[in-house]
C-alpha cells in the first residue's frame, strides 16, 4: 500500500510533466475507439448498408490498420516513458540511495504507469465516444446524409478491443521501463543533471554545399513529379522519389550549419535581443536530430496528402452520385424487352413507373463485335485473346437513344445519315474502339457504309453503374434500321426510369429491431431479375440504391482509412517533436538561468523559448507542406484522369484538423517547457 501511495503522490507531483503523455494517450485511445467503432455506428447505415461487402471490407481494413496503429502508439509510449524516466532519474537515484531496492522503484513506477494508463484510457474512451458523435456529424455533412434519425450508439465489442490493445501496450511499456531502470547504475541516476557537451559539426562551407545539393535535389523532384508527373517512366519516377528523399534528409542535415551562418549575415537581426541564442539553439536541435526531423516531415507530408485527398473525396462523390444516378432504376435485357418481362411478372410498366423510357436493341448478323473494331483487330486480339468476336453488337436507333439521353439529362447524340456512334465507358475496350475509329473503321449493312460520327467513342454509361465498366451499344441513324428491316431483328431493350410515388420508401424492421428503409421498386426489380433463367435471358439491372452502396461504400472506406492513418501520423510526428523538445528543455535549464543572470527579462526568455518551440514544430510541417503541394499537383492530375473533379474542396477541413491536433501539441509543449525552464528559476 505504501508504494501505491508513493506512486499516487508522484503522479500528483509530476502531473504537469505528464501533459504531453496524457494528451497523446487520450487522443490515441479516442482515435482508436472512434475508427474501430465506425462499423457499428448507426449513421453509417444510412450511407452504407451494414451487411454490404464494402462495409465488411472497411471494418476488416480498419482492424488491420489498428494493429499497425497499436504498434506505432506502443513505440510512442515507450519513447515517452523513456523521457519521463530521464526527467526523474535523480528522484529514482535518491530513492535508491535511501535504501529502496531497484525492484521496489520499478514497482512504484509500474503502479504509476498503470494508474496513468487507467486514467487516460478512461478519459480517452469518453473522448472517443463523444468524438464518434462529432465524426458522425462530419461524415454526415461530407456525404449529405440526413442524420435526424441518428441515435447514440456505443459498441461494447470495440470498447473491449480498445481496452485489450492498450492493456498490451501498457504491459510492453512496463517491461521496457523495468529494463531501462535496471540498466542504470546509481551513479548515473544521481549525476543525471550533468550532460556532456556535444560536439557540433560546424563546417559552414560543407553545410552550405550540402544545403545547395539538397535544395537542388528537392527542386528536381518537385519539377519531375509536380509538373512532368504522369509523363514519367517508372524509372524516372523512382529516381525523382529517391532524389526527394535524399534531398529531404540532406536539407535537415545541412540546415544546422547553414541557418546560423545565413542569419549571421543579417547583423541587425542576429544581434537583436536573444535572436542569436535562439538561432544557435535551433541549429543545435536540428543538428542533433536531423534524422527524426526528416522522418517527421515525411510523416506530416503523408498526413497532409491523405487529409487533402480524404476530405476531398466527398466533393467528388456527391458530384458523381448526382451525375451517375439520374433515375431510380435502369435495366437491360436480351431475349425479350424489359417491359415484356415486367408484364410477364404482373407489373404494368405504366403503373409502377412514374416516368420511363425504353430503347429497343437490335441485332444484325452483319454487325458483330468484330466489325466495330475491325480496323484495329490486331490490337483487339492482343488485348482480349479469348473474346467472342462474332457475337452481335447491340444496335439502337438514334431517336430512341436520344430519349434515353434526355432521361439521363445528357446531351443528345448527333449523327449524319452515313454515320454511327459507339457508346462505351469501359476504358480498355474504349482504347481499341478509338484506335479503330482513328484508322477509319467502316460498318457495312446491306451496302450501306457507316463511319464514326465522332473522332472517338462516346464515353457514357448505358446503365447506371457504380463502377464504370459496362460494355456499350452502337447508335445508328433511324433510317439504317427502318430501311433495312430484313437485316435486323429485335433482341431486347434498355429501360430506365423513376418509380411511381407509391413504390417509394417503406420502413422494414430487421429481426434485431433495427429499422431501415427500402424502396418497393427495388424489391420488384430484384424479385424478377435475380431469379431469371440465365440460359434464356441476358438481363442486367442497376438501381440508384445499389450504385450508392457500391460507389459510396468504396469512397467512404477510402475516406475513413485515409483519415485514420493521417491522424495517427500527425499524432506520432507531433508527439515525437514534443518529447524531443521537452527532453532538450531539461538540458537547457542552465542556459536559461544564465540568460536570466546576464539580464534577459522574463518576457525575452519566454519569447526565446516560444520561438524555439514554434520553430521545432513548424520546420518539419513547412517542409512536409511544400512536399505535399507538388505531390498533390501530381495526385490531382491522376485523380482528374480517373474522373475525380472538384478536388481538394476539403483542404480547409484538413488544415483545421491539422492545426487543432498539431497546434495543441505545440502549446502543450511550450507550457510544459516553460514550467521546466523558466519555472525552475528563482
Amino acid at each position: 500500500m505504501n508504494s501505491f501511495k508513493t506512486a499516487l503522490r508522484n503522479i500528483q507531483k509530476s502531473s504537469k510533466d505528464y501533459g504531453v503523455y496524457f494528451f497523446t494517450l487520450i487522443i490515441g485511445v479516442a482515435i482508436f475507439y472512434m475508427f474501430n467503432s465506425v462499423g457499428s455506428q448507426s449513421f453509417m447505415e444510412t450511407i452504407v448498408a451494414p451487411q454490404s461487402s464494402s462495409m465488411k471490407t472497411l471494418v476488416q481494413i480498419i482492424e488491420m490498420i489498428s494493429v499497425v496503429v497499436a504498434v506505432i502508439l506502443g513505440l510512442l509510449m515507450v519513447y515517452a516513458n523513456n523521457f519521463l524516466i530521464k526527467r526523474r532519474k535523480k528522484e529514482f537515484g535518491v530513492y535508491m540511495m535511501l535504501g529502496m531496492g531497484k525492484k521496489k522503484v520499478a514497482k512504484i513506477l509500474s503502479i504509476e504507469t498503470i494508474l496513468v494508463g487507467a486514467v487516460s484510457l478512461t478519459a480517452g474512451l469518453l473522448v472517443g465516444v463523444l468524438g464518434s458523435q462529432f465524426l458522425s456529424i462530419i461524415v454526415g455533412k461530407m456525404f449529405e446524409v440526413d442524420l435526424s434519425a441518428y441515435r447514440f450508439s456505443f459498441s461494447v465489442a470495440v470498447l473491449v478491443r480498445t481496452v485489450v490493445y492498450f492493456a498490451i501496450i501498457f504491459l510492453v511499456v512496463l517491461i521496457f521501463n523495468a529494463k531501462t531502470l535496471t540498466k542504470y547504475q546509481l551513479i548515473d541516476l544521481l549525476n543525471a543533471k550533468k550532460s556532456a557537451e556535444k560536439k557540433l559539426i560546424k563546417n559552414t562551407k560543407l553545410s552550405v554545399a550540402l544545403f545547395i545539393v539538397s535544395v537542388a535535389a528537392l527542386i528536381f523532384c518537385y519539377i519531375e513529379i509536380g509538373f512532368r508527373g504522369r509523363a514519367l517512366s517508372m524509372r524516372e519516377f523512382i529516381a525523382a522519389i529517391i532524389a526527394g528523399m535524399v534531398g529531404n534528409f540532406l536539407f535537415f542535415f545541412s540546415l544546422a550549419g547553414f541557418l546560423p551562418a545565413l542569419l549571421k549575415r543579417f547583423k541587425g537581426f542576429y544581434f537583436n535581443k536573444l535572436n542569436a541564442f535562439v538561432a544557435a539553439q535551433f541549429g543545435h536541435n536540428i543538428n542533433s536530430s536531423a534524422i527524426s526531423f526528416s522522418m517527421i516531415s515525411v510523416l506530416l507530408f503523408i498526413a497532409i496528402c491523405a487529409f487533402s485527398v480524404g476530405f476531398s473525396m466527398n466533393g467528388y462523390l456527391n458530384n458523381r452520385l448526382k451525375n451517375s444516378t439520374p433515375v431510380d432504376v435502369s435495366a437491360e435485357n436480351v431475349g425479350g424487352t424489359v417491359s415484356d418481362l415486367l408484364i410477364e411478372y404482373g407489373y404494368e410498366p405504366n403503373e409502377i413507373m412514374q416516368e420511363y423510357c425504353e430503347v429497343p436493341m437490335y441485332w444484325s448478323s452483319q454487325i458483330t463485335i468484330a466489325s466495330t473494331v475491325n480496323a484495329a483487330m490486331d490490337m483487339a486480339q492482343n488485348t482480349f485473346p479469348y473474346a467472342k468476336w462474332d457475337s452481335f453488337e447491340n444496335v439502337v436507333r438514334l431517336s430512341d437513344y436520344n430519349m434515353l439521353e434526355e432521361m439521363y439529362g445528357r446531351k443528345p447524340i448527333v449523327l449524319a445519315d452515313n454515320e454511327y456512334a459507339e457508346i462505351c465507358d469501359f476504358d480498355i475496350l474504349g482504347d481499341i474502339l478509338n484506335e479503330a475509329i482513328k484508322r477509319g473503321n467502316v460498318i457495312t449493312v446491306n451496302n450501306v457504309n457507316l463511319v464514326s460520327g465522332y473522332d472517338k467513342c462516346v464515353e457514357e454509361y448505358v446503365l447506371m453503374s457504380g463502377m464504370t465498366a459496362a460494355v456499350g451499344v452502337m447508335v445508328v441513324p433511324d433510317a439504317v434500321i427502318d430501311e433495312n428491316a430484313d437485316a435486323f431483328e429485335l433482341a431486347g431493350s434498355i429501360f430506365a426510369g423513376d418509380y411511381s410515388e407509391e413504390l417509394l420508401a417503406v420502413t422494414e424492421v430487421e429481426t434485431d429491431g433495427t429499422e431501415y428503409s427500402v424502396l418497393v421498386g427495388d424489391n420488384i426489380f430484384a424479385s424478377i431479375f435475380d431469379n431469371l433463367d440465365e440460359e434464356v435471358y441476358e438481363a442486367l439491372y442497376t438501381t440508384k440504391t445499389q450504385v450508392r452502396e457500391d460507389s459510396v461504400g468504396i469512397s467512404v472506406s477510402v475516406v475513413f482509412i485515409v483519415l485514420y492513418i493521417g491522424i495517427v501520423f500527425i499524432i506520432t510526428g507531433a508527439a515525437v517533436i514534443a518529447l524531443k523538445i521537452l527532453s532538450d528543455s531539461m538540458d537547457s535549464v542552465d542556459k536559461y538561468s544564465i540568460l536570466m543572470r546576464i539580464g534577459a527579462d522574463r518576457k525575452m526568455r519566454e519569447h526565446a523559448l516560444f520561438a524555439q518551440t514554434i520553430f521545432n514544430f513548424a520546420l518539419p510541417l513547412a517542409i512536409g507542406f511544400i512536399h505535399s503541394v507538388f505531390t498533390l499537383r501530381y495526385a490531382k492530375g491522376v485523380l482528374v484522369a480517373i474522373g475525380m473533379t472538384r478536388m481538394f474542396s476539403g483542404t480547409a477541413v484538413a488544415v483545421l484538423v491539422m492545426i487543432l491536433v498539431y497546434g495543441g501539441y505545440c502549446l502543450l509543449t511550450y507550457e510544459a517547457c516553460r514550467r521546466v525552464v523558466i519555472g525552475a528559476e528563482k
Binding site: E197, F271, N272, F277, I594, R597, I598, A600, D601, M604
Partner: protein, 256 residues
C-alpha cells in the same frame, strides 16, 4: 567617490518559526566606486547567501541592499530584470557560457539584451577582447577553449555592459593555478583600467590577495575586515591574509 553598494543590517533566515537558521545576521558594509572587494568565508558561512541577495537572485528577510542608491528589495518584475541587466555583471565558478555559441556571440548576448545596435556591439566586443587578451578565441566555441580562456570570456561578458557592480562567485574555483593567476590579473586590470567595481566571493587566500579590501564572514556575521595599504605589494597583502587567518587559529581550516 560615491557608494556603489551599501548593505545595511542585512538578515536572512531560513526555516519556520521556532526552528530558524540565520544565514545572515546583521551584516553591514559598503563598497565605493572602483573598489575591488573580496569576501572570504568557509562553506556555510553565509557568503553565497550574501552574494545571492546582492545579485537580486534571493531576497533579504530584513535590512537593505542599496545599489547605486536604489533599494533592490523594492524592485519587482520588469524593473528588477532591467536593473540586473543594466547595473550588474556576473562571473561564475563554472563559467556559464552558452556552449552552442561562439565567444563573440556569448559576449554579444549581454549587449543585444540591452538592445544595443549591432555596430556598437561589434566595437565594444573587440575593445573588451583586446583588453582581456581573448581576441584570437572570439570565433571559437567554449569546448575549444581552455578553462582560463572561458573564464576570461565570461569576464568580458560581465564587463562589456559597463555595469555599476561586477559580482564574481568563486571565479577561480574551476581553474588551475596558472589560469587563476591570469584571470585574477584580468580582474585587476578591469578594476584599474576600466574602473570596474568588483565584488568577489572566494575562500582562497591567493585570489583574495588581489582585492583592495577583504571582508571575512563567519556564521552569518562579519568578523574581520582587511584593507590593502597604499604601496603594499600583493605578496605582502597575501602574507597578511594568511597571518590573520592563522592568528584566528582554528578558523583557517574552516576558511579553507
Amino acid at each position: 567617490m560615491s557608494k556603489v553598494l551599501e548593505v545595511i543590517n542585512a538578515e536572512k533566515y531560513y526555516g519556520e518559526k521556532g526552528n530558524i537558521t540565520k544565514a545572515l545576521n546583521d551584516v553591514s558594509f559598503s563598497v565605493e566606486e572602483g573598489e575591488f572587494i573580496g569576501i572570504m568565508g568557509a562553506s556555510g558561512s553565509g557568503k553565497t547567501t550574501l552574494l545571492n541577495c546582492i545579485s537580486t537572485i534571493d531576497r533579504l528577510s530584513a535590512g537593505k541592499v542599496m545599489i547605486n542608491g536604489v533599494n533592490i528589495n523594492n524592485l519587482k518584475g520588469k524593473k528588477l530584470d532591467a536593473f540586473r541587466r543594466d547595473e550588474l555583471g556576473f562571473i561564475f565558478q563554472d563559467f556559464n557560457l552558452l556552449d552552442t555559441m561562439t565567444a563573440y556571440e556569448n559576449i554579444s548576448l549581454a549587449l543585444s539584451i540591452q538592445k544595443k545596435k549591432h555596430a556598437e556591439i561589434d566595437t565594444k566586443i573587440k575593445s573588451v577582447a583586446e583588453t582581456l587578451g581573448i581576441s584570437e578565441v572570439l570565433n571559437k566555441y567554449p569546448y575549444h577553449m581552455s578553462g582560463g580562456q572561458k573564464q576570461r570570456v565570461a569576464a568580458a561578458r560581465a564587463v562589456v555592459t559597463e555595469p555599476k557592480l561586477i559580482l564574481a562567485d568563486e571565479p577561480t574555483g574551476a581553474l588551475d593555478s596558472k589560469s587563476s593567476k591570469a584571470l585574477l590579473e584580468s580582474l585587476d586590470m578591469m578594476n584599474r583600467e576600466l574602473n570596474s567595481t568588483i565584488l568577489m566571493v572566494t575562500h582562497d587566500a591567493f585570489s583574495a590577495s588581489y582585492a583592495s579590501r577583504i571582508i571575512f564572514i563567519k556564521d552569518g556575521k562579519i568578523f574581520n575586515e582587511m584593507i590593502r595599504n597604499d604601496g603594499e605589494s600583493r605578496k605582502e597583502f597575501f602574507g597578511r591574509i594568511i597571518d590573520v587567518t592563522t592568528v584566528l587559529g582554528g578558523d583557517l581550516s574552516e576558511l579553507i
